[in-house]
C-alpha cells in the first residue's frame, strides 16, 4: 500500500515573464515504511519536490496523494490535520519558532492536537537526543546542530506516518551529521514511519531502500 503518490507533477516558476520549469512531469510512489533518498545537484529541484509532495506548496500540474487522499488543490486549513499528525518535516534551515523555547517548539504540534502528555513526550524526545539541558533555550541560543535536532524532535512528536527531511545534515560537520542521521533512522524504524530524505551523502544513500536522482526536472532511479 502506498503512503505517498505523485502523478506527473510539474512545477513552473515565472520570473520576469520567463517560465522556468523546475520539475517536469515527475511521478513517484512510496510504500509504507520505505526509506527513500532523493539526490541531485544543487538547484536541481529537490527542495521544490519535497515541498510539493508534502503539501507545503501546490504543483503547477499533476496530483499528489497522501495516505490515498488527493491533497492537490486542498486549502491550507484542509491541509492542517495532515501537517499536524500525518506528516513530519525537518527543514534544511530548521525553522524553529523564535519566540518559543526548545521544549515549547517540540511540544507545539502535540499541543495543537490537545495531547495532555505533550510536555512529557517532548522531554522524552529531548532526552533521547541528549538535549535535556537545552530545554529552556530559545532558538537563538542554540547551535545549528542543536537546532536541527530540536526540529527533528518536533517533527516526530506526533508520530507521523510520513517524515520528510531536507538535507538535515547540510549544516553539520560529518561527525555530527552521522549522529543526527542515525538518530533519524532509529526514530523512523521505531515508529514504523516512512522517510523521504534529501541528501548528497552517498553513505546514507547506501543505507536506504531506494535512491532517486533529480536531473533536468526529471526523476530517475
Amino acid at each position: 500500500m502506498s503512503i505517498l503518490e505523485a502523478k506527473e507533477i510539474s512545477k513552473v516558476y515565472t520570473v520576469d515573464h520567463r517560465n522556468i520549469t523546475v520539475l517536469n512531469q515527475v511521478s513517484l510512489k512510496v510504500e509504507v515504511g520505505e526509506f527513500v533518498v532523493i539526490t541531485g545537484s544543487s538547484g536541481s529541484g529537490k527542495t521544490t519536490l519535497l515541498t510539493l509532495i508534502s503539501g507545503l506548496d501546490q504543483p503547477s500540474s499533476g496530483q499528489v496523494f497522501i495516505d490515498q487522499q488527493n491533497i492537490t488543490g486542498a486549502s491550507e486549513d484542509d491541509l492542517a490535520p495532515f501537517r499536524n499528525s500525518i506528516i513530519g518535516f525537518v527543514f534544511q534551515s530548521y525553522h524553529l519558532v523564535p519566540s518559543m523555547t526548545a521544549l515549547e517548539n517540540i511540544m507545539f504540534p502535540a499541543e495543537l492536537l490537545g495531547d495532555p502528555n505533550a510536555a512529557q513526550k517532548a522531554r522524552q524526545l529531548l532526552k533521547r537526543l541528549g538535549l535535556e539541558e537545552r530545554a529552556d533555550n530559545l532558538p537563538s541560543q542554540l547551535s545549528g546542530g542543536e537546532k536541527q535536532r530540536i526540529s527533528l524532535c518536533r517533527a516526530m512528536i506526533n508520530q507521523p506516518k510520513l517524515l520528510f527531511a531536507d538535507e538535515p545534515t547540510g549544516n553539520l560537520d560529518s561527525e555530527n551529521g552521522k549522529k543526527m542521521l542515525s538518530q533519524l533512522v532509529e526514530l523512523k524504524t521505531e515508529q514504523g514511519a516512512t522517510l523521504i530524505l534529501v541528501t548528497h551523502n552517498p553513505e546514507i544513500a547506501q543505507a536506504s531502500d531506494r535512491v532517486l536522482t533529480l536531473k533536468d526536472g526529471r526523476l530517475s532511479e
Partner: protein, 831 residues
Amino acid sequence: MIHTHFIIRQLSRSSKQAVVFILCIILSLSTLTAFTGFSKSVNRSLLDDAKKLHAADIIIRTYDKMSDGLEKAVAEQVRLGRVELARFYEFNSVVRAPDKQKSLLSRLKVVEKGYPFYGEVVLLSGLSFHDVLTPGHVVVEKTLLDRLGLSVGDPIKVGFTTLTIGDVVLSEPDRPMNFFSFGPRVFISSQDLNALGLLQTGSRIRTVYLLKSKDDAQTDALTNLFKQAAIRGQERVNTYQTAGSRIKRFLDNFIFFLKLVGIFILIIAGVGIHGTLTAFLKEKEQTIAIMKTIGATNRHITLHFMLIVFLLSLIGTVMGILVGTVLQRGLAGLLADFLPPDLRLSIVWSGVFENIVIGFSVVAMFTFIPLYRLREMRPVMILREETPRSAKRWPLYASGAMFALFFFGLVFWHMQDFRFGLYFVAGVGGLILITYLCTHLMLWILKGWKSRQLVVRQAIKGLFRQGGATKTIIITLTASLSVIFSIYLIEKNLDATFIRSYPEGAPNMIILDIQPSQKEAFTQMLDQKVRFYPLIRARILAINGETIKHDSERRRRRDNLSRVFNLTYQNSLLEYEKIIKGKGLFRKDWTEPQVSILDIVGDMRKMGIGDTIRFKIQGVPLEARISSIRTRIKESLTPFFYFVLQEKTLGAAPQTVFSTLRMENDKIGPLQTKIVNRFPNISVIDVSSAVQVFGRLLKRLSKIIRGFSILSMAAGVLILISAVFATRAQRITESVYYKILGAKKTFVFRVFTLENIFIGLLSGFLALIVSQVVAFLVCRSVFEIPYHLYLTSCLLMIGATLLLIITIGVISTKSILERKPITYLREQPDG
C-alpha cells in the same frame, strides 16, 4: 554618494509603514495647525476688530450708578471736545404683545444716538439703525417676533409703555448673535428710557459709557484720567484693547482646551512616529546587516535612512498643514454661533512656520533613537534572529531628556501660564507614570499565568514579542481613552445635574425685581402663599479691617471677593441649610450688626465666628460680625445666600424682592404674562426653559470637544496599526510555523485576536479607572456637582473600544493570515 534608487526601493518595499508614518505626522501637524492657526487668527481678528467689537475707543462699565466723580470727568472731556459720548443700558425685562396675551423675557439695550461708534447694527430692511430707532420705536431680534406672534409695525409693551416695532436686527457689532443669552435682543432709544419706568434701584442694570476719542494718540491718557476718577472695583475703565469681553474669555478658555488636546495628540502621534519608524527599520534589518557585511559605512547607511525619514516627514508636514488649514475652517464653522460677526479667519504665516518647526522637531526627536540604533546593528544579525540590546543607554536618556524639555517648552509657550503649565505637565507625567506602573504590573501578572489553553498561552506570549511595544500601545491607548472617557463622564454628570434631573417640585420660575411695595398685591394676585427674599446689593470693603484688593481678587479663576454680592435678611434658617459653626443663626447677646455666612465663602478667605466684614451698600458702609457659618445640606435649586443679616440691620436699606414658584410647564407662559401685565417692572425667568437653552449649548460644545478628543483616539489607533507592522515579520513567522506544524487558520486568528483583546481590555480598564478619578475630581472640585459613576456606559465604551481594536487587529493581520507558508519559507535565511 546618494543612491536615489536605493531610497525609492526601500520606500516602495515598505509602502504601508511609510503611509502610517506619514499619517502620524499629518495627524499631529494638522491638529496643531488647526488649533494654533484658529487661535492666532481669532486673537488677531479680535485685536484688529477690537474697536468694532467694543464699538468704541474707551469703554466704561458699571453695574452701579455711575459715580459723580467719573460722571464729571467724562462730562468735562466731552465739553472740551476731546471725546464723544454714547451711553447704553442693558438689562432683562419681560416684554408683552398687547392683545395676544403672550410675553417673553428679553435682553433690553437702551442706546443713545452715537451708538455704535465703530461697526454697525445691521437691520433686515437695510435701513440705517438710527433712522429706524427713533423715540417710540424698538428694533428686535427675529426670534422675538416669532415667539410673540408679532410682526414689524405692531405695538409691543415694554415696562410701563407701549412702543412700535420698527425693524428686525440681524447683527450688532459688540455681541455674537447666539451668544449665551436667555432672551432675544430689544433695542430701545434712550429717549424712551424714563417712560419704561424700569430703572428702579436694585434691578441689575449694566451701564456702559462708550467714548470715541477725537485724537487716537490721546486715548491712553484719557483712559488713565478716567481711571483715576473711577471707583475701583465698581467702575471699569478700559480701552478697546484692554477691555476683555465675554466672547474673548469664552474663546480663550476654549482655545486653551484645544491646545491641550493638540499637545496631547502631538505626543501620542510622536509615539506613533517612533513605532512606525522602528517597524520600518526592523524590516530593513536584513538589508542593513548585509549592507554592512559587504562594507557599507554607518555614515552611508544612516544618511540614506535619514533622507528617507526626511522625505516622508516633508510629505507629512506639507499635507498636515494643508489638512490643518481645512480643519481650521471647519472649526470656525462649528463655532460660528460663538464668534463675533464677520470674524475674518486668515492663514497666519508665522503660525505655519512655527508649526513646521514644531513638526520637524517632533519627528527629529522621535526618530532619533531608531536611526541611532542603525549604528549598533551588527552583521551577525543575518545569522541570529535576536536584536542585540543596545549597549549604550545614554542616547536613550539624552533623547528622553530632550523630549521632556521640548514638551515643557511647548506647554509653557502655549499656556503662557507657568503654574498651570507645571500642573499640566505634572498631571500628564503622573498619568503616564501610573499607567506605566499599572501596565507593568498587569503584564507581569499575565506573564505568570500558566493557562491550560494553548491559544491563551500563545496570545500572552505574543504580548511579550520583541519590538512589540505592548507597553507603549497600552499606555498610549489608555491615555487617549482616558481623555475621551473623562470628557464623556463629565458631560454626563453635568447633563444629569443641570439638565435632565430638574428636581421634582423644585421652583422653576424666578420672579425678580419685585418692589417691596408690590409684595402684598403680588401675593393676592397669585392667590397662594409666596415666600419673598429681600435682595440688597453690596460689595465687601474689608474683612477684619483688611481691605479687599481688587486686582489680586480678580485674578482668581473662580469666585472672588471683589464682585457684587446679594445680601438678604432672614430671621430663620433657609430650607436645606444647617449651621455648622456658631450657636443659632444670630447671637442674642451681641448688639452690633451680625452676619451669617455660607461655608463656601470660606474658600475665598478663611473666616471664623467673631470676624468682621465691612460691606458697602449703596455707598453706605456697614460693619457686621460673623455670628454663624452655614452649609447647604443638599444640592437643590432653592435660593441660597452667601450673607444673611438681620431684618433690623437691613430692613430699611434700598432693596428689591424676589420669589420663586413652582408651576406646571404649560402654565408658566400665561402666568408670566399675567404678572407682567399687572407689574411691568417685574422680570420672570422661566428656569426650565433657561436650563434647556443651557443644555443645548452644552451639548453643542461637548460635541465639538468630543470630536477633537476622538482625534487623539485616531492617534492611538495609528499606534496600534504601527505596532502590528512593527511585529509583522514576527507575526508572519509565527503564523507560518503554526501552519506548517498543522495549525488551522482559525487557531492563528484566535491567537492574534486574543492578544488584541488583552491589549484592549487592559487599556480599557486602566482608562476607566483613570477617567473615573479625573472626572470625579473635575465634577467635585471644579463644577461642584454630585458625581455618578455611569458604569454601564463605561462598560459599553470599553466594549466599543475592544471592538475597534479587534477590528483593526483583524484588518491589519489579514494579509499575514493569507500568506502561503512556502513563499515565506523561501525568503527565510537560515534560522
